[in-house]
C-alpha cells in the first residue's frame, strides 16, 4: 500500500466520523495550546525580569555594607557592634583596580523638597557624574552632575521626571532653585521618563552630589557602591579585586558584600526557567490525557469497524497494512490537533501580549517543538494497542459480525 493511499484512506475514515474527529482534534489542540501559552507566559516573565535587570546597567557589580552570610558569629556581634559603614574613601579606593572602569557611590535619604508653595517628600540620591552612565539614564533637559571630586559638595541637583512635573508643572525647572531640607540647590538637569526598574523609580528621585547628600543627612555612610567592570569577562576578577580592596580598607575585616548583577540575574533566570519548565510539564499532562483519549477513540473505531477490517483482510491486506492504517489515523489526528493547537496557542500568546504589553509572551521554540512532538508521540504511542488489536482480528469472525 502506498503511503499516499494509506493517508487518504485514514483521512477518509476520519471524515466518516466527523463529530468524533472534531472532538479529538479539539482535545489535542487544547493540550498543545496550553503548553504554548503557558510557556509563553513563563518565558515572558523570565524575559521581563532579565530585561529589568539589564536596564539597571551592564557589567554591574554592587557593593553593600555588612556580610550577608550568617555562618558563625564574629567578635563584633558579641560586642554588639554594627558592621562598619561603607565610606567614600572605600569607593574611591576601588578605582585602583585595573578591571574597574568606573564607580558611583550611592547615598540615599529622604527629605522635604519645596519650591514656592509646593512641597513634597522626596527620595534624595547622592552620587557622582558616573552614576548616569552606569545606570543608563537619559536626560531630557540640562545636564547631569558635574564631574567633581566626590568629596566636593556643590549645591546642584537633577530631578526625576515626575518630581519635576509635580514641583514645577510646565514651568522651566533648569536654573530654578529648589529647597531640600534646610539647603538650597539649583536645578541643572531633568531626567527623561524611565519608569520603574526593579522597584526603583528613577522618575521620583532627586540626585545631588554625594558630598552634598552627606552634609544634608549628616552622615558619612554609603548605601551602595555601583561598579562597572571593563568588560563582561572582567566582571569576576573585578568582583574579587573589589572585595580585596575593601577588606584592606577595613583593616582586614570582611564586612562588605559584593554581588555581581550577573549572579543575581542568573539566579532569577534559573528560577524562572525552572518555573516555565514546571508549567510546561503540567500542560504536557493534559496532552497525554489527549493521547489516552485518542487510544479510547481508536479502540472504539476498531470495534465499530470490525467488518471493514475483516473485509480488508479478505481482500488481502496483511496485518502490517492494517496497523499502518490505524497508525495513520492516529497520526493524522495528532498532527491536525497540533497544528490547530499551535495556531490557538500563538493567538493566545498574542492576546496576552496585547493585554500586557510589558510581558514579551513569546513561546520559546523548544516548547513549540516539544508540544508537537508530545502530541504526535502520545497519539501514535497510544494507537499501538488498538492498531495491534485490529491487525489480530480473526477475519472470519470479523466478517460474520452483523
Amino acid at each position: 500500500m502506498k503511503l499516499s493511499d494509506v493517508i487518504r484512506f485514514a483521512g477518509g475514515s476520519l471524515q466518516g466520523t466527523r463529530s468524533r474527529t472534531l472532538l479529538m482534534i479539539l482535545a489535542m489542540s487544547i493540550g498543545v495550546a496550553a503548553v504554548v501559552i503557558l510557556t509563553a507566559l513563563g518565558e515572558g516573565a523570565r524575559r521581563y525580569v532579565t530585561g529589568q535587570f539589564s536596564s539597571l546597567g551592564t557589567n554591574l557589580i554592587i557593593v553593600f555594607p555588612g556580610r550577608s552570610e550568617t555562618a558563625g558569629s564574629s567578635p563584633g556581634m558579641l560586642l554588639g557592634q554594627t558592621p562598619r559603614d561603607l565610606r567614600l574613601e572605600d569607593a574611591t579606593a576601588l578605582l585602583r583596580s585595573s578591571h574597574i572602569r568606573r564607580i558611583a557611590p550611592v547615598a540615599v535619604g529622604s527629605t522635604q523638597a519645596s519650591q514656592n508653595a509646593r512641597n513634597r517628600e522626596v527620595v534624595v540620591v547622592g552620587s557622582t557624574a558616573d552614576f548616569m552612565t552606569i545606570r543608563h539614564m537619559e536626560l531630557s533637559q540640562g545636564q547631569f552632575l558635574p564631574a567633581l571630586d566626590p568629596r566636593e559638595a556643590s549645591p546642584v541637583c537633577v530631578l526625576g521626571a515626575t518630581i519635576k512635573q509635580e514641583l514645577f508643572g510646565n514651568e522651566q525647572a533648569v536654573g530654578a532653585w529648589l529647597r531640600l531640607g534646610d539647603r538650597r540647590f539649583r536645578v541643572i538637569g531633568v531626567l527623561d521618563k524611565q519608569g520603574e526598574s526593579m522597584g526603583f523609580n528613577t522618575d521620583e528621585l532627586v540626585i545631588i552630589p554625594v558630598a552634598s547628600a552627606h552634609m544634608l543627612f549628616n552622615t558619612q555612610a554609603l548605601l551602595r557602591v555601583l561598579i562597572e567592570a571593563k568588560s563582561r569577562e572582567q566582571i569576576e576578577p573585578a568582583r574579587k579585586e573589589a572585595e580585596e580592596i575593601l577588606i584592606k580598607q577595613h583593616n582586614g575585616e570582611r564586612d562588605v558584600t559584593v554581588v555581581t548583577q550577573d549572579a543575581v540575574l542568573a539566579t532569577f533566570d534559573r528560577v524562572l526557567r525552572a518555573l516555565t519548565l514546571a508549567v510546561a510539564g503540567i500542560a504536557a499532562i493534559s496532552l497525554s490525557v489527549a493521547g489516552v483519549l485518542i487510544m479510547n477513540v481508536m479502540l472504539i473505531a476498531v470495534a465499530q469497524r470490525t467488518q471493514e477490517i475483516g473485509l480488508l483482510k479478505a481482500l488481502g491486506a496483511p496485518p502490517h497494512e492494517i496497523r499502518r492504517i490505524f497508525f495513520a489515523e492516529a497520526a493524522l489526528l495528532s498532527l491536525i490537533g497540533s497544528v490547530v493547537g499551535l495556531l490557538l496557542g500563538e493567538a493566545g500568546s498574542m492576546v496576552i501580549r496585547q493585554l500586557y504589553p510589558v510581558l514579551p509572551a513569546y513561546a520559546p521554540w523548544w516548547s513549540v517543538g516539544a508540544a508537537c512532538a508530545t502530541a504526535l508521540g502520545t497519539g501514535i504511542l497510544f494507537s499501538v494497542w488498538p492498531a495491534r488489536r485490529a491487525a489480530k482480528l480473526d477475519p472470519v469472525m470479523a466478517l460474520s459480525r452483523r
Binding site: 500500500m1 502506498k2 493511499d5 484512506f9 477518509g12 475514515s13 471524515q15 466518516g16 467488518q307 471493514e308 475483516g310 473485509l311 480488508l312 483482510k313 479478505a314 481482500l315 488481502g316 491486506a317 496483511p318 496485518p319 502490517h320 497494512e321 477475519p395 472470519v396 466478517l399 452483523r402
Partner: protein, 227 residues
C-alpha cells in the same frame, strides 16, 4: 488447482470440541464451477474460508497451485489472498463511506498499484459490468443488484484464479439473483474457478459440479454437463 487432503477443522465451543470439517479431501481443477450445498452447520462456509485462506486447518494440508499454503505466515497468506482469491459475500461488504469506484479499487490500493493503472482498470470493469453511471455513488445509493455487481467487480479486479461466493444471491430477489449468477458464470468461462456456497438448490443446481456436505464431510460429489 486446489488440493485439500485430510483437512480437519476443530472449534472449541464451551470446552467441547466440535469438528466443522472432518478428514476432508477435495481437489478442484482450474476453471471449475463448483457449488457446495448442505444444511446450516454442515461446514460449507468453513470450507470456503479454508480455501480462501481466512481460516487454517487444525490438521491436514492445503495446496494451492502446487504450493503448500498452510505453512505460510499471515503476511504471506495475505499476499496469496490478494493475488489469487476473490470473495463475494451475501451481505456485499462494501465500505459504506467509499464510492462504488473506490470500493472496486480497494484491492489494488492494498496491493500498491499506481493510481493511473487503478483508474484504467476500474473504468474498464465498471464499463463491462454496466456500472459506469454509478461509479461515484456510495453503496447506500445503489440497488441490491448493483451492490453485488460492485462487489463482484471488486473480487475480480485483481484477476484472481479462484472466486469464492458465499450465498451471493441470498439478499437479492430472484430476478436480480439470476442476473448476478449469470455474471459469475460468465467469469467461469474466462478461466476462473468459481466456488459457490448456497442453501438454494436451484442456484446450486446450475453448477457443473455439486458437493453436498453434512457434519463436516462431503457426502456426495456429482458432476453434470453445463446448464
Amino acid at each position: 488447482m486446489i488440493e485439500l487432503s485430510g483437512v480437519n477443522r476443530i472449534f472449541n465451543v464451551g470446552g467441547q470440541e466440535v469438528g466443522a470439517l472432518r478428514e476432508l479431501d477435495l481437489t478442484l481443477a482450474d476453471s471449475e464451477y463448483v457449488s457446495i450445498m448442505g444444511p446450516s452447520g454442515s461446514g460449507k462456509s468453513t470450507l470456503l474460508n479454508m480455501i480462501g485462506l481466512l481460516d487454517r486447518p487444525s490438521s491436514g494440508t492445503y495446496r494451492l497451485d502446487g504450493r503448500d499454503v498452510t505453512t505460510l505466515d499471515d503476511e504471506q497468506q495475505a499476499r496469496v489472498r490478494r493475488e489469487k482469491i476473490g470473495f463475494v459475500f451475501q451481505s456485499f461488504h462494501l465500505v459504506p463511506r467509499l464510492t462504488a469506484a473506490t470500493n472496486i479499487e480497494l484491492p489494488m490500493i492494498l496491493a500498491g498499484i499506481s493510481p493511473e493503472e487503478r483508474k484504467a482498470r476500474v473504468d474498464a470493469l465498471l464499463n463491462s459490468y454496466g456500472l459506469s453511471d454509478r461509479a461515484d455513488h456510495r453503496p447506500d445509493q445503489l440497488s441490491g443488484g448493483q451492490r453485488q455487481r460492485v462487489a463482484i467487480a471488486r473480487a475480480t479486479i485483481m484477476r484472481p484464479s479462484v472466486l469464492l461466493a458465499d450465498e451471493p444471491t441470498g439478499n437479492l430477489d430472484r430476478a436480480t439473483g439470476r442476473e448476478v449468477m449469470a455474471l459469475l458464470e460468465q467469469l467461469v468461462g474466462q478461466g476462473v474457478t468459481l466456488v459457490l456456497v448456497t442453501h438454494d438448490a436451484e442456484i446450486g443446481g446450475r453448477a457443473a459440479r455439486q458437493l453436498h456436505m453434512v457434519d463436516g464431510r462431503i457426502v456426495s460429489d456429482t458432476r453434470q454437463a453445463a446448464v
